[in-house]
Symmetry: C2
Subunit: 212 residues, 2 copies
């Protein structure tokens, strides 16, 4: 297949972290989630390990419990980060923080929570290079999942705040001890699909040819 | 824009880790790399941190030095992992390992090496949830970069073996101490573009609705 680069670029450039524009009133069929996960697991993994596990939560009580854990960590973090952004006049980050506060307040209402996991929890003293291999074998699949959602009119956001209560979440979901949760993605249809590119500094400011 | 789902699915499902089919004879213009990086940095990051840095190496001597570091760790690792795959009759992983041995032997010949980095090295005792936030803010961008390459007829593979010599690589490239390398991606045009979906177990075997 020849790719239409305008279209594939549009997909990569406009798959934003969606929070305020998640449609909390529209149900998401399980089949759509499964279709996007089929695409997610096409992503490559280190040494072909494929150690991903996907916990998908549509049960209302469990979503409420996860949202409570999330808020426990969100409240302190987001107000601090918001104040810092305000002080340095960083309007983009300030908008992100306001949007994150909205998400924290409404997380239990988002119809689907997806918790991507890695089977094979690394020991606490695992060196960073090994962890790069581990996380580099799950986040490409997670991002593929988010891109596949976007192409279908759904949105999501990669969050990690609930991980502060990871053990409690593991108990709620019956996860074995060797399973590492890496994120929580609220998933819903989006209100409209006209997402725009983000305003970014020129890539030349963060690119170094042959050395710093 | 309405997305053509067949096309976006094809992009997500056929962006493979490319090693043997990297075209070692064809030059890659810098502009193509920069175009793909512009798309990469559209990916979201935790708290809008955007702490990515991209080291792009086309200097032949530096690629040779990086390839030497890579091989130092590849030789022992790949032969062990290959033997294990052979013993358990895992042909797919065995093919990956043979392909990885090929890459190790030819890495210096691949026209471009890209080393994605995070500015802000986490302390050694950083808890896993914080690290999930850190790696979850760089690997989506890395995967977007690889997807953007694929749409343009180029290929890449996410490798982490050279990180075993991270300090030596940092010296070679003049990286400040607070910069964390997370991968090395060999990048080249591909020989042909007819990549296929990988053979995967049904996603139902790794998906859990509402609990394990």
């Amino acid at each position: 297949m020849d790719f239409d680069i305008d279209m594939t670029d549009e997909l990569l450039a406009t798959t934003r972290a969606v929070r305020k524009r998640l449609d909390l009133t529209r149900e998401v069929p399980r089949a759509v989630i499964e279709e996007c996960l089929e695409l997610a697991v096409q992503a490559p993994t280190g040494s072909n390990s494929q150690t991903w596990r996907w916990i998908v939560v549509d049960d209302a009580d469990k979503r409420r419990a996860l949202a409570q854990m999330y808020r426990r960590h969100a409240d302190a973090y987001l107000s601090g980060a918001g104040e810092q952004a305000e002080q340095r006049g960083d309007d983009q980050t300030l908008r992100v923080m306001h949007s994150a506060v909205y998400l924290a307040e409404h997380l239990h209402e988002v119809p689907i929570h997806v918790i991507p996991c890695v089977e094979g929890r690394p020991p606490a003293d695992t060196p960073l290079p090994m962890l790069a291999g581990l996380f580099g074998s799950i986040f490409p699949a997670v991002w593929s999942f988010q891109l596949a959602l976007r192409a279908r009119g759904l949105g999501s956001a990669l969050t990690t705040l609930h991980l502060g209560s990871e053990r409690e979440a593991a108990e709620l979901l019956g996860l074995p001890d060797n399973v590492l949760q890496v994120a929580l993605l609220p998933v819903a249809y989006t209100k409209g699909t006209d997402f725009k590119r983000a305003n970014r500094p020129p890539v030349s400011t963060v690119t170094h040819w042959n050395g710093w």
